[in-house]
Amino acid sequence: MKSAFVFCTGQYESGDWDSAPSLPANLIDSMARYTSVSVAPSGVSVPLSSETLLEYPLVYLTGHLPFRFSEAERKNVRKLVDRGGMLFIDDHNHDIGGVFHNTAFEEIARTFSPLKDLPNDHEIYRTFFKFTDGPPATSHELNGWGDNLVHKNLQAVMHGDRIAVLYSSKDYSSEWNYSPDAKRFSTVDNTRFGVNIIVYALTR
């Protein structure tokens, strides 16, 4: 029996890992709505230091507070990435130079290598839906909240030609943190880029 994709939120010891509780259900709904990928109806939350983390091809991390891995977490996420898994880390603060942003950049550099801008013509922007201008802007960016910037690029750590760690300062965690039922009020589903991230993680 082929196992379904399970959306995994990573629990880390240092911060508020559970700050976007509705996001998993929303992206699960989008995957079921647009793709034929078999998706488990519920997501899971898994400690980064747990061996079970290695069962998940994509691990989502977010938060507002200083971000730091314990040694066990660091070792395990390295193992996940070496085995083909991917981390998607999103700053829930929608600002730059904030505590999550600064500490996450440092921790990612310590654990893997420094983040670099991901070109806006990278294949993740056309893996399922097409985003010709790179990462879609969030309403927080367009409303001028946070740092009053529209961040033009995502950042990434590459593992060969594959994204191993995808980092966003765009606050998709706020943008996608709502009940899937509310999508009927939108003309364009703003979670479509989330589908691209998951499909990329499942196919690269």
Partner: protein, 242 residues
């Protein structure tokens, strides 16, 4: 010349020669026996070499009767190039259960195998030009066949951990992989340069699940023309004629 040397004179009574073992001097002596064919009975404790067998055949053709007895170890040896990007050779030996078989190449001893059932095998990273196997006085030797020509492997499956790992594992072994990964009806994520599924381009197809149904007829034709196919359970249920 050899035939004339060994040819027996007709009408002479055959002499009985009984000998343990075989050596060049005995063969030479029997070849030069004047005037009579012989009934040569050999008691062997090891398989004669190729030269000795040819010599005995010549004696038999000259009129001598050759018979042998002995507890010779039956031994089979086969050597095949490995169908893997890393290359190498698989050595297969056949011998009675529990036999100790020493395997070597032109350089020296490689390993000693103990047969379980009636055979044993060993994978060698190198591709030696000649392989030997020895067991209880019997020696077999052979040369590997020509190397295998390897092409890409095509993986067809739905998006997920399984298809991703299959592709990664094949690539880790050195295979060049092309992949059709089904994401949604009419939407495939492809990897590598894809081409028609035929034996000129692919060595094998790995079908993981129902995503292969779209290509079932082409895969069936690929197999009929000699292509390899590995079916995961989800794909094994597909009708190849559809």
């Amino acid at each position: 010349m050899l035939w004339q040397t060994l040819r027996a004179e007709t009408g002479s009574p055959a002499r009985l020669i009984s000998k343990r073992g075989l050596d060049a001097s005995a063969l030479s002596e029997w070849s030069k026996m004047p005037g009579a064919s012989a009934a040569i009975q050999l008691r062997l404790d090891g398989a004669p070499s190729g030269l000795e067998r040819a010599w005995l055949r010549a004696l038999a053709a000259a009129g001598s009767t050759i018979s042998w007895s002995g507890d010779l170890a039956p031994l089979m040896l086969d050597v095949r190039p490995r169908a893997a990007p890393a290359g190498g050779t698989t050595v297969l030996v056949g011998a009675p259960r529990g036999s100790s078989v020493a395997v070597g190449d032109e350089i020296g001893a490689v390993d000693t195998l103990t047969t379980k059932g009636t055979g044993a095998s060993i994978a060698l990273r190198a591709g030696p030009s000649r392989i030997y196997a020895r067991s209880r006085g019997t020696t077999a030797s052979t040369s590997p066949a020509d190397s295998v020509l390897l092409r890409k492997v095509m993986v067809i499956g739905s998006a997920g951990w399984e298809s991703k790992f299959v592709v990664a594992a094949l690539e880790e072994e050195g295979w060049k992989v092309a992949a059709f990964i089904r994401v949604a009806p009419g939407v495939d994520v492809t990897q590598g340069s894809l081409a028609a599924i035929d034996t000129a381009r692919y060595s094998a197809v790995v079908a993981l699940d129902s995503a292969a149904s779209l290509y079932a007829a082409r895969i069936a034709e690929f197999v009929r023309t000699g292509g390899g196919l590995l079916l995961a359970p989800g794909a094994a249920l597909l009708d190849g004629r559809s």
